[in-house]
Symmetry: C3
Subunit: 474 residues, 3 copies
């Protein structure tokens, strides 16, 4: 893979800093990509001949970063998403529609000036598709043609790109109820790529999830355990964790509105569980049950060694009309202020001193970096800080992360980088941004004589590669 | 108007960044000033011969930024404000008093080192009054003389300065109950300056306002509607909005402690309204009624097209003793932490997807830039982010705004700049700071190869001029 | 004392900025150190022959910054702290144990890369002990020997170092119940060093302190006042303040979870006090009583002129297991979000306009710098902002402080620097970091033409020296 966009991109214009940044970056630019957390669909690797579809399928339709910014400036959702009857459409009609989506995107590409999405797309077009022109309304169809042409070639199949991207391992995110069929197919195929599942039980743990009872039924089915009470539920989760682990999983992932934790007695937990089964939950039940189950997950992590990831702070589907018409993940999730010090007290007092336990905390509230997360990770043996997440996965977001986390926690209490993306083709651009931002930050430390060059080279490698492997035992 | 203070002020000392910043700035420095939100008194334009009074009248007495910093370091309020019997004073006594105020200010001018107020005053003295000396206790009276001499000249009348400042349009802020007499006089005078009113109904919407019942009586009077119940109140507001719009208004403005919104039934709203009329409100009545009326204002904005501005988060008149002796706006308003994601949920779910609606959000809590405001504006078609406000209307405040807002929202979901000042003569210095800060920020993006120069020039113009006009349809 | 680590450390790599920073720094580098707040044990100065013990005693065992980071990466507490039976150990066994602690520290010294603790230790080793090598597992024992050898010399006695460090005055922190015996010994010894006590009444004011009743008994004993009711308690505190003042104290210091203040009637206060004496407190009693006593402390400060320092926002002993086994101050205190605007309203309305009163506010929640603290200090005559504290006492912490506080408050509403350390030998490195960070910040203002050089030199001196003396009347 060539990196032809400006070789100094993201680096400080100061010649002294840039010189150090270049040398640090040169030492890590070609390290393999370790991807311990993300949302790429394992299906794309299960079928050796899987193709990505049209340029709109690849760059726009599934990318809520793109969709939300266009929508915010008045582009209707209908102009960006495939028709609900797309499956039945004629190929020509489908192509026309996707070309129109692409044209709308290109006409509004100026909206992405200075945004990380704009950077990633520029880098992807250039480094993966060899397109150096700036996308515009004028060249939109020509560029569409060039991308479509490339996507039709065998070396643009996901497995080929996996090799070209120099990925060492890529973890997906899979519901606790998932049968992991695609992962099994990947294993069976003998392909040498390393695609690992991650255990995500939100759909069965958060009792206010839409379709929770259906999810429990499904959990019973895949685990073979009849889930009529809390203890059976816990047993089913343990069974699924064991299955995920046998399938290669190294971690679990948990989303919640807040990091509230609480230890309920089995009786209390079962009472809530029974109410939920009957569809008669009381106001605090969901928060208390999730808080309790997070502690159960921590307990199980100590037993089975799966790293526990906690992603909190997003108010999901804030825009009800968009949710009802177009569903989740359309860019309508909005962060809220988040509190870790008090909320994690029960969990950390129970498990935070156990060196077998690894809890990786992610936040959408950057005020917690210096105030709560770095002090927690800088004390508890079990706590790690995940990289800047979602809205903060950007050059400035990374700079704030480095500036606000590292002095208190040191880099070795952080989990390195993860790309956390469903856009497979953006993975190299995302890791490249992280590596460049890290080297630029380190070059600042070197030129201010805060660390020496030897340390900076070691830190650059740790941030780019080692820490992700170490934290997740990959 | 000459700009003789250091031509590179506010620009990065890095030669590469400074070079780009200079060129970007050159392309926007002379664009007209668009002023969609501020507090200049329309009276100053109604009378063609209006004079600003003394240097103390111009620079100190009405400027709570100045008064508060002097007060914080032990200068008594009495030494900074005119005597309450000033109207009856002899001109000589008045002059002596104002000279003493000016001397006190000059003696303490070192307190303003590194503050935006210090910069604005330095720039005003130099660019408007041609005074290049640094103000000090020693030269205070000489500088007073020079300013006073200039202020006596016809080209220092507000209308002359309006032209000299190259202002294209200036919006004032006017109570819903205001008869807009001065605006009418400006219109009638045939003067070509464009001074527009803005509809601000806080005094009738916030039922805990001192004198609320008197304000309602005044609203009844100016609208000609007898306001004995909630529906009549709404009708009166609609009538006033129509009048303001006919008088040229393009926007409304709303201040509240928090952005709490809630949809009450007409019956609930009327019950609170009746209690307020009787002076018998209950604890949450004021917050609920304001929250409800903000939604009514949004509804009316969709109907009449007035842009809705929301300024929240200041605990007004924190210092009771100062308020009781000297009144409001003496620098004793202190911000509080503010929450938008949950608070705006009702309003945005009702109106946030309507592309006819424009809601401009301002904050005194910078933690909400990246966490809440940028995600909201980066999704909802109706949401814009206003420029850094009040305490944050400074070089660092702008840098934080650019760094924390733009990656998620893009610049096109922001409302450009507004000066939000009652100090008419500070307007050019404030716009100049914004333009310089924006160009310096953009030069950083260019030299880090995040945007190219073509984009940067377009973005500089948008931030300096276009976005303000577009957002407010000016 | 030589400053041999890189002469430009912490300065911007930009040549223009660095040049100004160097010149500013040269003008303040050799000013005496003013230390108005810290935790050095007065015992070390009471005995002219006091020795610091081993390198582990000096650098590791008492330093919770060091202990917590090692613990966070899996080093057991037992490997870092002296055995509880150390007093009875043979010197050889003790030496072996301390050497092992030092080896563990050196083996993990890479964890401190880029942290302020890493910088301070590097600077101390070099500037105080003349050790230029980077500490590592390999050279650990050799460096241990060199430090131990130095520590045995007379010029490494605390009083000798006090002179060598060029300390002008150093305030300790002493419980309200402390007899100040060591301070008396220092006075009696005729030594010219200026070591002043600070009145810290948390142990008697916070009724939820462990051993509160024992503390009250001790307070009765040292004050000679029988404390059976609230009024006697207040009288005893007034008596102790007078004693501390007579012993040279210039300030009081108060720690609380939040800055909540409230004025209780004497009857309410006594009712809580009586319940506390009986061990029957109700849920809000502790918070209300502390909130009330803070107001009493402010009232007394106006009367006796002691500066009032308020340190809030740490959740103490977050890790229960560590607290129970190893006690306080092991790095397990975690900050929480903090609110000042509403919480200080009662106190500031009662005393904030009194120019005899000086309240210095410290925070662990940096979001309050620009939002609450700078506006409060920039208005109230009685409010000052203390320097970056604890987790934020670092190069980036200082940059954020300068960037977020100074535009609104100006530098003259800040209290200059205090080192707030129990690690006596780190004092020069901490002041040096502050002076360098301040000069680097000022150099940025100069090169952006925000302040001129004359002002910058005055500001550098104020930040390095004058403000601390002025605020505390030293």
């Amino acid at each position: 893979m060539t990196r032809t966009t400006h070789t100094d991109r993201y680096f400080s214009p100061d010649p002294a800093v840039r010189d150090v940044a270049r040398r640090l970056y040169a030492s890590v630019a070609d390290l393999p990509l370790v991807c311990p957390h993300g949302h790429v669909d394992p299906r794309v690797f299960a079928d050796p001949d899987y193709a990505f579809g049209t340029p709109a399928d690849l760059f726009i339709i599934p990318d809520h970063y793109v969709v939300r910014l266009l929508y915010s400036q008045g582009v209707p959702m209908e102009a960006l998403l495939p028709s609900s009857s797309e499956e039945e459409e004629q190929p020509e009609a489908r192509d026309r529609r996707h070309r129109a989506i692409w044209q709308t995107f290109a006409d509004h590409f100026y909206l992405f000036r200075g945004t990380p999405t704009g950077m990633w797309i520029r880098d992807e077009l250039r480094d993966i598709f060899g397109i150096e022109e700036k996308l515009s309304g004028t060249n939109a169809q020509r560029i569409y043609d060039r991308i479509a042409e490339r996507l039709a070639q065998p070396d643009f199949r996901p497995r080929a790109l996996y090799a070209r991207f120099n990925i060492e391992v890529l973890c997906t995110t899979d519901a606790a109820t998932d049968s992991l069929t695609h992962h099994q197919q990947i294993k069976d195929s003998g392909w040498c790529g390393r695609i690992l599942p991650t255990f995500r039980p939100d759909g069965v743990i958060n009792i206010d999830t839409p379709n929770w009872r259906a999810n429990i039924a499904r959990l019973a089915e895949v685990s073979g355990i009849s889930i009529t009470h809390y203890q059976a539920f816990v047993a089913a989760l343990e069974q699924r964790r064991a299955y995920f682990k046998a399938m290669g999983a190294v971690a679990t992932d948990h989303a919640a509105l807040t990091p509230f934790t609480i230890a309920l007695s089995d009786r209390e937990a079962d009472a809530i569980f029974q109410r939920a089964l009957r569809g008669e939950t009381m106001p605090d039940d969901a928060a208390r049950f999730t808080g309790h189950m997070l502690m159960q997950m921590a307990r199980m992590s100590i037993e089975d060694g799966l790293v526990m990831q906690l992603h909190v702070g997003a108010w999901r589907n804030h825009n009800r009309a968009v949710f009802e018409r177009f569903g989740s993940d359309k860019g309508a999730d909005i962060p809220i202020a988040t509190e870790y010090t008090r909320n994690l007290l029960p969990l950390l007092n129970a498990f935070g001193n156990d060196r077998r336990f690894r809890l990786v905390l992610f936040t959408l509230d950057e005020t917690t970096y210096a105030r709560e997360l770095a002090p927690l990770a800088g004390h508890y043996p079990a706590v790690w800080i995940g990289p800047p997440w979602w809205f903060h996965d950007s050059f400035n977001g990374m700079r704030r992360f480095f500036d606000q986390v590292m002095e208190t926690a040191g880099i070795y209490n952080t989990a390195g980088f993860n790309d956390d993306t469903r856009a497979f083709c953006s993975i190299p651009a995302r890791h490249d941004l992280w590596r460049r931002a890290a080297c630029d930050w380190l070059a600042g430390l070197v030129t201010r004589h805060i660390v020496d060059e030897d340390d900076a080279f070691a830190m650059a490698r740790a941030l780019a590669y080692d820490l992700a492997k170490l934290t997740y035992s990959l």
